[in-house]
């Protein structure tokens, strides 16, 4: 975070325009480019987002859709296992069909990507907006407001997400669109981490000269936050967000797996996993496809998140590496 703070101390900070984004962004790209793993991960993520966005196009190209039943493609007498080898892979069904229903797996997988990525991104956005708002208010507000918001943040951090989300999603009537609901629930529960980072950043920034100067010249809280604090806080928040996305993907998958996430016939990877788990012996590809999709996505996002953190804060990254040695050194 100190790098970010330093960056915001660059000349002219208190003046008309914060120069951080421009030079910071350029620097960021330069540093990110040097990390090959992060670049590969970024390419994978971009591909996934493209696939999700182009899902209707891709399935049209294949000539299928995610909800149509094909009873003729499963062996009814054998429990509905797909007819043909490798789960019924054919020119018409690129990744085979789902057992029992004969629905196209490729179509379900790419439409599932929309749910998984969409819910995760929306939830992350919500977490950031809430976390930044609470963190800033807490850092800039008076003692009483700070105390109240900090305790509220502590409560949210301490809240067991899965248990709470399970309870909440089970209670809310099913008429509310499920993907939106899942994003809202996850977003509203899991913003504590962002709030804590933003509050800590705000408090240390507050004592810096340029912020003090802005204050003395009579700027209001909102203006200070927008012009002086947010540019400096962007780096840690983006870093945190990059790691929140994969977490949110797994949370959505887990909730759908447990039956409280998106509802059928909507496809989501977690929901596919839950109906596939019993088929792992009879139709392994049915389980492997969503599992692999989840694995690749979460891994790519995590590596990318790590790369983003390194690029934004190389000193923090190197400190992490040196850290162990220093600890041994200063053991006393």
């Amino acid at each position: 975070m100190s790098e970010a703070l330093l960056a915001s101390e660059t000349p002219g900070a208190g003046a008309t325009k914060a120069p951080v984004p421009a030079s910071g962004a350029r620097q960021f790209w330069r540093r990110l480019r040097t990390q090959r793993a992060a670049l590969v991960a970024a390419a994978v993520v971009a591909l996934l987002v493209l696939v999700a966005l182009a899902a209707p196009l891709l399935t049209a190209l294949e000539g299928q859709d995610p909800t149509s039943y094909h009873p003729g493609l499963v062996d009814s007498a054998r429990g509905g296992v797909p007819v043909g080898s490798f789960g019924g892979i054919s020119a018409d069904h690129w990744l085979g069909v789902e057992p029992q229903t004969g629905r196209d797996l490729f179509a379900r997988l790419v439409y599932g990507a929309r749910v998984s990525l969409g819910v995760a991104l929306a939830a992350t956005l919500l977490q950031i907006v809430l976390g930044v708002a609470v963190g800033l208010a807490s850092g800039l507000g008076g003692r009483w407001l700070d105390q109240t918001l900090s305790r509220a943040t502590d409560v949210m951090v301490a809240l067991p997400l899965m248990v709470f989300a399970l309870a909440l999603l089970a209670v809310i009537p099913s008429s509310v669109p499920r993907p939106v609901l899942v994003a809202l629930v996850v977003g509203f529960i899991q913003w504590g981490g962002v709030a804590k980072i933003v509050r800590a950043g705000t408090i240390s920034l507050k004592s810096l000269d340029h912020v003090a100067a802005a204050r003395l010249s009579g700027w209001g809280g909102v203006r200070i936050a927008r012009r002086e604090l947010l540019p400096a806080l962007a780096a840690p928040v983006i870093t945190y967000a990059a790691l929140l996305v994969p977490t949110n993907i797994t949370v959505e998958a887990a909730l759908s797996f447990l039956g409280v996430g998106v509802k059928p016939p909507t496809a989501s990877w977690g929901q596919m996993l839950t109906s596939a788990d019993v088929w792992y012996q009879a139709a392994p590809q049915y389980l492997l496809l969503p599992a692999a999709a989840l694995f690749v996505t979460v891994l790519a996002l995590t590596v990318l998140g790590d790369g983003v953190r390194t690029a934004l804060d190389p000193r923090a990254a190197s400190r992490l590496r040196i850290g162990t040695g220093r600890k041994r050194e200063g053991g006393s």
């Binding site: 009873p71 007498a77 429990g79 029992q100 059928p264 016939p265």
Partner: protein, 575 residues
């Protein structure tokens, strides 16, 4: 009164559920029979001896004859409790017959089937050697009226004269006058209405004798006094583990039904269904001589097992009288319009529904409400022929006539439980089929308890939902009456007449058939009644489940009757 009614109906629901569970089992073996495709592991004649292990998911909770709710006396319970009558332990359709157990012969009806008289066999003894008398049977029945021993079947409460007011032997020492024991071998039941099916009712465990001197109230279940071939040696964790050993005072001379080959039976419950199937297919150690009385093969497990010849030979197939259907609430628009109901009947795709239920090996298409078995009076009909995959064209025509030419949007309520009968998989299959007929289906998935409460609540009942019904005994009466008899609509409490059907001529026909004591004659008329009601499109029959169950490789003499659809523990041999 209202509370009592409510209670009895709830227990009926539970009963039906547990009956299904108790009933499903697999058979395998050397029994000859037209339906017997089950070949057991070893050849040769079944021998006495050995230990049979039962691997179950549900415990044998409340192992007290007053509290058990079973079909035909149950599977494990009937090893310990003999009843006045019992089911015929044979394969297939002959297994739907009711036969005498403690009684010398089936009951003698008189006064228009409102009075039933039984004489019991001489020489039947309890596990302590004392002789069984009809006073013990009367006492056992009276116990089932005690509030503290809840859970049993509600029929006697509803049908015995004074049964609605009787509080059980602990509160009411005088006893129930409508059950008479003129001597130690005779017992007479006086009913408030004709019940031609009474012999079937007398198979339930509440007809098991209980010696008054040994009754410990709610503690009796820890060690109920046996009359069957086995006695309870240990009951731990409220039936989670039940260890049975031979009852030396039981004699095959007085019991033609139970074979009782193994020396010991060890019932272990609380297991996950996939664990049970895994252990049975591995058949290692004690699991080679193991069966399950409550766990079916799921579709994925069936796919795996059917690809393996050795395992496929360890699967028993059975049919239990049961129907899964789509229920309409005609009080909710647009289901008040018969044309809309007919359109939906035409539009359903039974092939994809059956695939969702596990495929053609685990479900058979249904177009009648009665199960496809003769004992129920099955009469083939298909009022709204949808073919194998739905008749969208005919459905669209009907919708147009009903004034929905631009299609229709409806809500289908289902359970979120993964049970292959009211689950999301079935609902989405229907959703896809109705889409072809221009009907947009919105799915309302509820947690299983909410779902059960909602669909049985007359005030809150959804317009369209997935439902199922199983009978307490293989006859048309318990199958049709609770669902279509207008006098059985329950406005407060659990209601099963979900179409609120109340037709005087149907009610009168139900009463008239209930007077018949000739089961075959009654069956014919139940079948005709089913056909008549079916024309009203009050529901859409979807499928009748088929039960497939694994058993261990050393299991012999597998008998699966159509009464229970599952392997009969009393017939199994392990040597």
């Amino acid at each position: 009164m209202r509370l009592r009614r409510q209670k009895s109906v709830i227990s009926r629901r539970v009963a039906v559920a547990s009956a299904t569970l108790v009933v499903l089992s697999v058979g395998a073996a050397a029994c000859a029979g037209p339906d017997d495709k089950n070949e057991a592991g070893g050849g040769g004649k079944p021998q006495q001896g050995g230990t049979l292990t039962v691997l179950n998911s549900n415990p044998q909770s409340d192992f007290d004859p007053a509290r058990l709710y079973t079909s035909g006396g149950g599977n494990v319970p009937s090893l310990v409790f003999r009843t006045l009558t019992t089911r015929n332990r044979e394969d297939g359709a002959t297994g739907t017959k009711v036969v005498p157990d403690l009684a010398e012969s089936l009951g003698k009806p008189s006064e228009n089937a409102t009075v039933w008289t039984y004489k019991i066999k001489k020489g039947v003894r309890f596990e302590d050697g004392s002789p069984v008398t009809t006073k013990d049977i009367k006492y056992g029945i009276e116990r089932s009226f005690a509030a503290e021993l809840s859970g049993g079947a509600p029929f006697l409460r509803d049908w015995l004269i004074g049964g609605d007011k009787y509080q059980g032997p602990y509160k009411d020492k005088k006893g129930l006058d409508s059950v008479e024991t003129p001597d130690d071998q005779t017992i007479v039941f006086r009913l408030n209405k004709p019940v031609g099916d009474f012999d079937y009712v007398a198979t339930q465990t509440s007809f098991a004798p209980v010696p008054k001197a040994k009754d410990e109230g709610t503690k009796y279940e820890e060690h109920p006094v046996s009359t069957g071939p086995y006695k309870v040696v240990k009951n731990s964790g409220d039936g989670e583990r039940l260890q049975l050993e031979r009852n030396p005072h039981w004699s095959a001379k007085t019991d033609a039904e139970r074979k009782a080959y193994p020396d010991k039976i060890d019932v272990r419950s609380g297991l996950n269904s996939s664990v049970i199937n895994q252990r049975l297919s591995a058949s290692q150690g004690a699991d080679a001589a193991a069966i399950t009385t409550d766990t079916n093969l799921g579709p994925a497990e069936l796919a795996k097992v059917s690809g393996d010849k050795k395992l496929a030979a360890q699967v028993g197939t059975g049919h239990f009288g049961y129907t899964n259907y789509l229920a309409f609430n005609p009080k909710v628009k647009p289901f008040d319009d018969p044309k809309v109901r007919q359109a939906i009947s035409y539009a359903v795709d039974r092939t994809s529904v059956i695939n969702a239920a596990g495929g053609s090996s685990l479900a058979e298409p249904a177009t009648t409400f009665l199960p496809n078995q003769k004992s129920f009076g099955y009469t083939k009909f298909d009022h709204f022929p949808a073919g194998a995959s739905g008749n969208a064209k005919k459905a669209k025509e009907l919708l147009k006539e009903a004034g929905h030419k631009d299609g229709l949007t409806i809500t289908l309520t289902h359970s979120n439980d993964k049970n292959f009968e009211t689950s999301p998989e079935i609902a989405t299959a229907l959703q896809d089929a109705l889409k072809k007929a221009g009907i947009t289906v919105k799915l309302q998935g509820l947690e299983d308890n909410d779902y059960e409460d909602k669909v049985h609540d007359a005030k809150d009942e959804p317009g369209l939902f997935l439902a199922h019904w199983g009978a307490d005994w293989p006859s048309g009466g318990p199958f049709l009456a609770p669902i279509f008899d207008g006098r059985q609509i329950v406005n407060d409490g659990y209601n099963f007449n979900s179409s609120f059907h109340n037709d005087k001529s149907v009610n009168a026909e139900i009463d008239s058939i209930n007077k018949l004591t000739d089961h075959d004659a009654a069956a014919k008329r139940w079948g005709a009644l089913d056909k008549k009601i079916g024309a009203k499109a009050l529901n859409v029959p979807l499928f009748h489940p088929v039960y497939k169950r694994l058993y261990g490789k050393d299991i012999k003499n597998v008998v699966i009757s159509d009464w229970t659809g599952v392997l009969d523990v009393s017939q199994v041999a392990v040597k």
